[in-house]
Amino acid sequence: MLVGIGFISPWILGFLAFLVYPIAYSFYLSFTRYTGFGAPQWIGLGNYRQLLHDQLFWTSLYNTLYYTALAVPLGTIVALVMALAMNQRLREVLLYRTALYLPSILPAFAVSFIFLVLMDPQNGVLNYLLYLLGLPQVNWLGDPRVAKLSIVLMSQLGAGNAALIFLAGLKAIPRTLYEAAELDGAGQWGKFVHITLPMLTPVLLYNLVIGIIGGLQVFTQSYILTGGGPANSTLFYVYYLYNNAFAYSRLGYAAALSWILFVVSAVLSLLVFRSAARWVHYEIY
């Protein structure tokens, strides 16, 4: 017993110092006015009351939910298509795996720099492509109606990660299931809908939860690409939290924002897990 706890003691210390205590401390701070200097000043529910009337809070919450609601399903579909294609017997499949996974480990800030060039309204290659196709030019990062979508588009470059997880799930499906279905006369589509998809649902659940939690944290891309603009259209939640804490020195208010994020994230994860009982197919095989 003591030896076991000895081995995990680094985690226990970190858990207390970098998680339990900070969370409790931020709960306390969220009821105070605090600039980071001097003592926090108790104001009760003041911060939370102010949140309700804070237009930027609602805007940033909306922006982040909008981003997550688009980027996660789209990324899941892209990743699934990639995984299905990679699961075909192709001699050079390792090359594709390399090419598709590589962009997902590149630093977000560097990828953002690259998209600054790709999405340049005058000289950008994306607008040149539209021009070649005879389509109207798009102000990718300068138009408030488009900017969020541009960041969603850019985030698809990270789909390789989820694709490899799907691929591992595909490889784990026993061949005998497909053989049995073939004997029953199932076609390609039938096998996909009745075997592949249900057997992939546990992996899908994993990818969804990881995607949602990551989506709610979107920050770096808009910090570099747009600075939160135009017209606050890419002011994501974490960006607003960051601004309050480190640009406006409103640490108490930022702590209240953190707690809302914590609750939103917990509720969304819980909803997904709850719904999982209905659509995730756990079968011992």
Partner: protein, 291 residues
């Protein structure tokens, strides 16, 4: 041999199946080639832009292949931006983070897998639950705590937490360690070896591939980190590549070819690490997800 026994109908159907298989392969190939081209294009464009001259850069339509490869842009970028300083700083943080992550996660994961103790799996459930806490929630309190310790504008807030284990990597290593047959350590226990010796001499050597995976992902996390350095580092002389480049771009209106040259410098080590350690990457992301 077998085909001689096949009926005519079976032969036809097997031929149909083969050609269908070929067709599916061709479709899959087309899809993959298209996606791979789209996914690698930004990297190509980064390099192509990095070597364009200012005149070529201003030209519309953009040239898809640089007319003249101006490698001197890399020198110009390094002269303009303190790239080597930023790289040295990033490397210092990365190395210390990797050491902390490897040591702490291996030890903790052994405590959750190699040794039996009452309540172990309940505590492990708690570890798993912490994976789902979004990091930005801790931004404000952690900053204030580190500020009171006088750690702001040092590398300590970026390095020290790595020495206390990370829930996801503990989980990953534990998955791996559970596959090591218990007989090995049991035999050593009968011979009177202590847990530390078993961990050090038996488990650790066997767990090398999984530990390499943790080391690689820890290195990647530190190298790619933006938010951490953004919050804690204040002196230009301490900046990492991530915030150094971001600030330099916004303050000095860095030319795009030089920005892309600097980005190439940032991205190249990541690509090299990936190409040389591919199997650890694949192991790392799939070990955790599939039961």
């Amino acid at each position: 041999m077998r085909s001689t026994y096949m009926s005519a109908r079976e032969q036809v159907s097997s031929r149909v199946r083969i050609s269908l298989g070929w067709l599916r392969g061709a479709v899959a190939r087309l899809v993959l080639l298209a996606i791979a081209a789209v996914f690698l294009f930004p990297l190509y464009w980064m390099l192509a832009t990095a070597v364009k001259t200012d005149a070529e850069l201003a030209h519309f339509p953009p040239s898809l292949w640089p007319a003249h490869w101006e490698w001197g842009n890399f020198l110009a970028a390094a002269r303009y931006v303190p790239l080597f300083l930023y790289m040295k700083n990033t490397l210092v943080i990365t190395i210390w983070t990797v050491i902390g992550a490897v040591v702490s996660n291996a030890i903790v994961a052994y405590g959750f897998s190699g040794i039996d103790w009452p309540g172990r799996d309940k505590v492990f459930g708690l570890v798993l639950a912490t994976i789902f806490i979004p990091f930005p929630v801790l931004l404000v309190p952690l900053f204030d705590i580190f500020a009171h310790l006088g750690w702001v504008n040092t590398y300590l807030p970026l390095i020290v937490p790595a020495y206390f284990g990370n829930a996801f990597w503990i989980f990953l290593l534990r998955q791996f360690l559970l596959q090591i047959p218990a007989e090995l350590s049991d035999a050593a226990r009968i011979d009177g070896a202590g847990e530390l010796r078993i961990f050090w001499q038996i488990v650790l050597p066997l767990a090398k591939p999984a530990i390499a995976t943790v080391a690689i992902f820890a290195a990647l996390g530190a190298w790619n980190d933006f938010l951490g350095p953004l919050i804690y580092l204040q002196d230009n002389s301490k900046y990492t590549l991530s915030i150094g480049l971001a600030f330099f771009r916004s303050e000095h209106n860095l030319r795009l070819n030089l920005l892309m040259a600097a980005s190439t410098v940032v991205v190249t080590p990541v690509i090299l690490l990936f190409l040389s350690c591919q199997r650890y990457f694949v192991e790392g992301i799939t070990l955790g997800s599939v039961r």
